[in-house]
Amino acid sequence: MDEGLKIELGKQGVFVTTIAELYNWGRSNSIWPMQFGLACCAIEMIATTMARYDLARFGAEVFRPSPRQADLMIISGTVTKKMAPQVVRLYNQMAEPKYVIAMGACAISGGPFKQGYNVLKGIDRYIPVDVHIPGCPPRPEALLQAFMTLQKQIDAQPLTGAGRPRHLNAEAQGEFPVPVPGEHDLEPRSNPGVWPLPILNNR
């Protein structure tokens, strides 16, 4: 619908919208994060929810301590290989629609522990990540930016067709395989359905 006409109708007291707009407005403004933190990034996440940065302004003030009631998983910190199966399991237990923010250098790539044997080199190897934030740790402003980016992604999402959300697509993958702790490493090392090995262009 024409944006100018919509504003004109609004002045006359007629509210016009589409189902998709209304639906996305609703879900993008009531994203409840899951209450769990993995490392020092969690301290910044806590700061973001407190009065100075106030995540409540964006409709995300309720941190739910149960995955069943949460919409957003903020991977705030180092994901060790011992913890990774539990993170994937918690993600599987969340109800659709669900979103993931990978917060900080460790969650997106392993960060300073990349060369170690015990840290997962990015949680996006096992679960789909909507927004990555770099930083060690990222400032609360960066988390707010990521949150607003996620809201914009949700607002722009069509409800039908190719780019529709997972919960409206009957064929979409609903459960993600939990990696099994093996004798030397996690098995498998990544989920190719979620993380097809990216092509490097810089060599």
């Binding site: 044997y117 093996g182 004798e183 030397h184 490493d185 090392r189 990216p198 092509i199 490097l200």
Partner: protein
């Protein structure tokens, strides 16, 4: 507090059968330590804890050390018999010849304990213990029955070095998962090769990423 030499003498007086060796530390810290034999370790530790002068009631730190097999090249002077014909007659002479020999000194695993006394306000007294080798005889006595603070630290040493503490009440892995088979802090530990995606590789990570590609024979920039 008594000096390390005095402690050694005290242990030897109380437990004549125990073997105690003084390990001097020439570095500025000047912290000499005692190497005790695992067979009498518990008796020695009990003596150190209960002795009226020492009263080492607090075990602050348990550490593991891995000493891999060492190849030692040394020059040895050997007497050699040489037969030679000199002016028509056979003669046998002996001559000193220098020979380079290589031998492999077997490695071992070691634990280091730091003991303090809260009551007497002194310490640390440092103890070492060595295993026989690094492969099959890796048992050492646990000090958990004497100092509870050893429990988790010995579990960590077991996890990362593979030293088996006999007499430990709950010897399980502490940091890695139960199914894990390796001991990551050993010098010969091979890390999992999960360097398949390195967008900003440099230094050590670049080396590993290249090694990963070489192992799978992937051309640079290629995809698995």
């Amino acid at each position: 507090m008594k000096t390390v030499e005095e402690i050694k003498t005290a242990i030897e007086a109380a437990l004549p059968e125990a073997r105690v060796e003084l390990v001097s530390n020439p570095s500025p810290s000047w912290q000499h330590s005692l190497r005790i034999d695992p067979g009498h370790a518990l008796a020695i530790a009990k003596f150190l804890r209960d002795d009226a002068d020492l009263k080492l009631d607090f075990l602050s730190n348990v550490t593991g050390v891995d000493w891999p097999d060492k190849e030692i090249t040394e020059k040895v002077q050997v007497m050699q018999t040489i037969d030679l014909t000199y002016e028509g007659s056979d003669q046998t002479t002996e001559e000193v010849v220098e020979e380079t020999r290589k031998r492999i000194e077997p490695g071992y695993l070691e634990t280091v304990y730091h003991l303090y006394s809260v009551e007497k306000k002194h310490g640390p007294v440092i103890l070492h213990m060595r295993t026989v080798n690094r492969t099959d005889q890796v048992e050492l006595p646990s000090f958990t029955p004497l100092w509870r603070s050893a429990e988790f630290q010995e579990r960590e040493v077991f996890d990362l070095y593979g030293i088996i503490f006999t007499g430990h009440p709950d010897l399980r892995r502490l940091l890695m998962w139960d199914e894990f088979k390796d001991h990551p802090m050993r010098k010969d530990y091979v890390e999992p090769d999960d360097f398949e995606y390195e967008p900003t590789a440099h230094d050590e990570v670049l080396k590993r990423a290249e090694a990963h590609r070489a192992a799978l024979s992937i051309p640079a920039g290629g995809r698995v």
